[in-house]
Symmetry: C2
Subunit: 413 residues, 2 copies
């Protein structure tokens, strides 16, 4: 049966060694035998990227970002060449390309570049010749032909972007989990695989620390309505389809519970309570390329207020330094921080039309004696910061309170 185009992405753990690469080659050949045109996006072998980074760190504490991208982009180049060879060995006709070769143009924000354009001509030519096309994930080039990388999880972004420009039927994310779950199965024993979920929910889940897909890829898939199939590289079971919201989804109020322990909380104390001051703070932080997540400003008492926000733990040192500079600049007080936090969130489209979710979540925490540090909400999620040591307990309490283990009986108010 002749089908359309499938983009298959395989992460680092799926191509960690020669045997795994050979098994990926078989899966690719199967998709081809099923009638698909196939474009494969691969990450670097296993821990290659980390190994390369630690090599760099043996030389310098602060490698230049441009050179770091030059270095780590080799990882994906290795795996795509090896996968091409493995497919040849099975009698398939495959050709591998770097990001530069297939015209993945990005801006020049080294180590976290954004794709600005893809010139798919080279891939289309190869597909026309009935070749299986293998593309190095995670990388591109800027307008001056410098090699860039797209940040952690960037291979997913490559896959989604290629699915878009090539007008793929589906973008398959082959990973080491079987799909998206109502909570992390390592924390919650009876967590359940979700068959179908909307981009919006998945976006929130991803932002909140579900490690399956990075938010940017989902944002991109959502923008161009590319269906994504998250599935296991090691089985033929169906995983989770991420797609546009469909009516059936609306019955489900809460889709999942997530935990993110990779953030830290920073507080600028005694900030003068004047118009424009928050803008000043966060413009300066943005200028340092730090992504702020939650922001809470306490009610002013004496003309001064405390501003707290969370940032990725990796940016904490830079953030503290920046916050100190800002504090001097605006005449605020000292800087405090807390690394031992966990952000717990519930996500669900149904929230939009159901009230009381927040109360239910807070109850679950209160019943377990867990104190809430910060709260923030959006249309389809509620997040609470708690002490890191209570993180897992909080996830289990909420998962159980919302009855998420039962299919089709997920909590409705």
């Amino acid at each position: 049966m002749k089908r359309g185009l499938i983009v298959q992405k395989y992460g680092g753990s799926s191509v960690a060694d020669v045997v795994k690469i050979q098994s990926v080659a078989k899966r690719v050949m199967k998709a081809r035998a099923d009638g698909y045109d196939v474009v494969v996006v691969v990450s670097a072998l296993g821990d290659t990227t980390d190994d390369l980074i630690s090599l760099a760190l043996q030389i310098t504490d602060s490698p230049a970002d441009r050179e770091l991208d030059m270095l780590i982009s080799t990882g994906e180049q290795v795996s795509c060449a090896l996968l091409a060879m493995a497919i040849h060995e099975l009698g398939g006709d495959a050709i591998s390309f770097t990001g530069a070769q297939v015209g993945i143009m990005t801006d020049n924000s080294f180590t976290k570049a954004r794709i600005i354009d893809i010139n798919a001509r080279r891939i289309e030519e190869a597909l026309k010749k009935r070749k299986i096309v293998i593309v190095a994930g995670f990388q591109g080039v800027d307008l001056n032909n410098n090699i860039t990388t797209l940040g952690r999880g960037g291979s997913n972004l490559t896959a989604v972007a290629l699915a878009k420009v090539l007008n793929a039927e589906i973008c398959e994310m082959n990973t080491d989990v079987e799909g998206v779950f109502t909570a992390d199965p390592r924390i919650v024993k009876d967590a359940r695989k979700i068959n179908r979920i909307s981009y919006e929910e998945m976006f929130e889940l991803a932002s909140l620390g579900a490690q399956v897909l990075q938010p940017r890829s989902i944002e991109f898939a959502m923008k161009f309505s590319i269906p994504i199939h998250v599935r296991s590289s090691y089985s033929n079971k169906k995983g989770t389809i991420i797609s546009k919201e469909v009516r059936a989804m609306e019955d489900i109020v809460v889709s999942g519970v997530t935990i993110n322990k990779n953030e830290a909380k920073v507080t600028i104390c005694d900030v003068p309570d004047k118009p424009g001051i928050a803008a000043k703070i966060f413009r300066e932080i943005a200028r340092q390329d730090i992504n702020v997540d939650m922001i809470v400003q306490n009610v002013s008492r004496t003309g001064a207020t405390d501003v707290s926000f969370t940032v990725p733990s990796g940016d904490l040192i830079k953030t503290i330094k920046t916050a100190k500079d800002i504090s001097k600049m605006i005449g605020a007080g000292e800087i405090t921080f807390d690394k031992d936090i966990a952000k717990i969130s519930v996500v669900g489209i149904g929230m939009r039309s159901h009230s009381g979710i927040a109360a239910k979540m807070f109850e679950a925490l209160a019943e377990n004696g867990i104190n809430i540090g910060m709260i923030s909400t959006s249309e389809i999620k509620i997040s609470c910061v708690v002490n890191a040591k209570h993180g897992q307990e909080a996830v289990r309490a909420i998962h159980s309170k919302f009855n998420l283990a039962k299919k089709g009986k997920r909590w409705t108010k």
Copy 2:
């Protein structure tokens, strides 16, 4: 003192680990402090290339050449990024480039591509900004932007080619030996470092198995009169300058003795003795991309003759297959081969004007009871094939016969 441009090449053993990369960074910074503009060409770290190849061989016995180049070209990309970081750490301003990025255009003979053009604009721009430019050796791109590699020792070729297009003052080959010697010091204890040697002699020495520089790089340097300085990465001693022939060289009849054990001898027996038959044989072998070295055709007796030739050992299997096909085609007899051979050669410009060198060489072998299998001569070299087990003994006998250990007293007839 302001000087011109120096191209420095560092081989794999010179950048085998972080400590060695840091030491190369210091040497680069010294050249800069001495007033040079610096372009550095680096090979892959230590055994990286071999490691990558064995990874490929775990997947397939015969990896596609295009994919092999995609794979192994990552080695140089890693080392040039790391070297840039090491130079930054010393306060230098360095930028690294792949072969593709600096426009090293080659033909599409994957794994042994030839450079057809270099667009040096990008390097010149960086030099104008006073940057130290680091280029990944050994690699380029073909006209379709496929990554190619230049074959073993290709980094030297990159260095010489860049020295040419950038009009460098000198091209420095930093290696793990102190220069070019009258014979391999591991074989001949009193072998002596040569201070100055002509391209022609060096070309023959390289072709004959002196491992310091590949013949193609010397050919290229000779063509464009680029002086080459072969020296040790680990000391500041002067090495050997390879340059145009100068008058002083003419007194020296024999410059050095070499041994090459990487060839095998193939014989096509009972070849019909007709005009054009040799052309037919070697055209067919060339078509298979096999480099033939020595060729000997025995005198015809009964209308048929034996044709023997040597090829790189790595090409032996392919050669035997090809020779069998040829034999069928032209009505010749069986194919015999010998892997256990060593080619011993003496090289020297002075030979042109001195006779009796060959006789002296044969005497040295005869005195040591070593039988000669094949002989071939050129203007400035004489080569004999002997049984591999007598190879080292032959080198020592000849080195001593020509009195090469004594400076300025090298053998004249």
